[in-house]
Symmetry: C2
Subunit: 299 residues, 2 copies
Amino acid sequence: MSVLIVGSTALDSIKTPKTENPRLLGGSASHAGVAASFFGPVKLVGVVGDDFPKRYLQLYQRHGIDLAGLQRLAGKTFHWSGEYEVNMNNRRTLLTELGVFETFTPKLPATYQTTPFVLLANIAPALQHHVLDQMRRPRFVAADTMDLWLKVALPDLLKLLKRLDAFVLNDSEAQQLTGEDNVLPALKKIHQLGPKYVVIKQGSHGSILSGPRGLFLCPAYPLRKVVDPTGAGDSFVGGMMGYLAAAKGPIDDHIRRAMVYGSVVASFCCEGFGLLRTTKTTRPQIDRRVKELEKLTKF
Amino acid sequence: MSVLIVGSTALDSIKTPKTENPRLLGGSASHAGVAASFFGPVKLVGVVGDDFPKRYLQLYQRHGIDLAGLQRLAGKTFHWSGEYEVNMNNRRTLLTELGVFETFTPKLPATYQTTPFVLLANIAPALQHHVLDQMRRPRFVAADTMDLWLKVALPDLLKLLKRLDAFVLNDSEAQQLTGEDNVLPALKKIHQLGPKYVVIKQGSHGSILSGPRGLFLCPAYPLRKVVDPTGAGDSFVGGMMGYLAAAKGPIDDHIRRAMVYGSVVASFCCEGFGLLRTTKTTRPQIDRRVKELEKLTKF
């Protein structure tokens, strides 16, 4: 089955002490879309300006991503620019130009409206609602978010939580949302806000799922070197949803393995700037790291 | 088989905004000794003053801990006092009185010298050497340490590393020792310093082993509430060594499960001040959490 993914489609300029990396393909929908594409068909919803390089459209297409829902408007593509410090640990934003995103209203093609799996990747909750409003009885809806929306659009986000099957957020966002710094009470409070499945991401320490079959501690694939973690969270949730949509049978039978697959796609994402490493990844490489993780966690 | 454990035997006074907890039994050897005692016989090496409460000697004895190597000297027992802030996350030291530890020279009873498993729990590396000097061909030697010894006794510690089978330290100490903030290159560098097995502890995120059979990602048991993490690292390594000493066959066949057992004993340690919760723990409770961890990590 296919996954519909809405989120940001952006150009990211990432500076380091050694390299420049201008105008890489970025955005939550790009990372999640490419990640999901390893498992099955993806329908993208987003917006780009007339400066959006043709090679990035071709990149989406090479990954079999349906672009019928990608609007191309006059104006500039959403552009984010940031800089890493010498130790590559701290990143600071230099510039954020919303461009065509400022007036974006997603309008779903008819062919999109019956997609069974829906991923509302990180984007303003109002837009996530707007996409969901146009869907006809999707089977499974997941959403990601970021600290910004907890600050500036909390009422919208709280309304969204009641419409979700799964909510994915990172540990600092979970603390921001619930006031709990311990992950277990935080998970409990988020369930009370609506979602049946809650996933808290913990960066290089993996992630934790709470669902009808209890907790699952999902490992992160250990990396020798992290080049750029931008988009890792989006890759995680994209890979997870792609795997889930491709699996047959109940969600509960597959969601743990889906998270491990998401975790592995995220590991590839971290090994290059932007999508440079992810787009070179193959399904056998992904399967190999999943097998490795099985061995690394067995006792 | 039994484990010999040398380390600090202390009185810990732990203040929180709500409670006082004066003169609890503490110290690395106390935590590691009680943790190891769930699996088999333990021989303790340490020193206490004439103010050491009789009830703590009885506590050791209730856990079947051999006290022939525990010196009782005139003077004060090592006393540490600390205070937690309101959120229970930050702890600051109020006072450290070395007492009888200032002049302590461990002298092993003859019955101790052939113990097959040796745990050099956190204590000055010179004392760890001194204990090891008195041992006759132990089968497996592990050591723990702390940031202080990396600062003030690095040459001694580096010499010790060449005498160990296993070295256990936490992530910030590994970074301090190797200059690597990524755990994989840090593990590699520590192997080059001597030990065949290296374990890096990551607090509530579990721990990672590097050994002849590759890496193992050991989970931490997720807790609803952490009351006091003091001694958790000592409990981890104590439980691990206790389990290993009780297991039959090659180390490599058991070390992963040994770490999981250590991790579970550490989880009980965190649920009470000092040793208050650990000493109430039973082997069936430990086995139950290990089983739970199996379920929580399976995919």
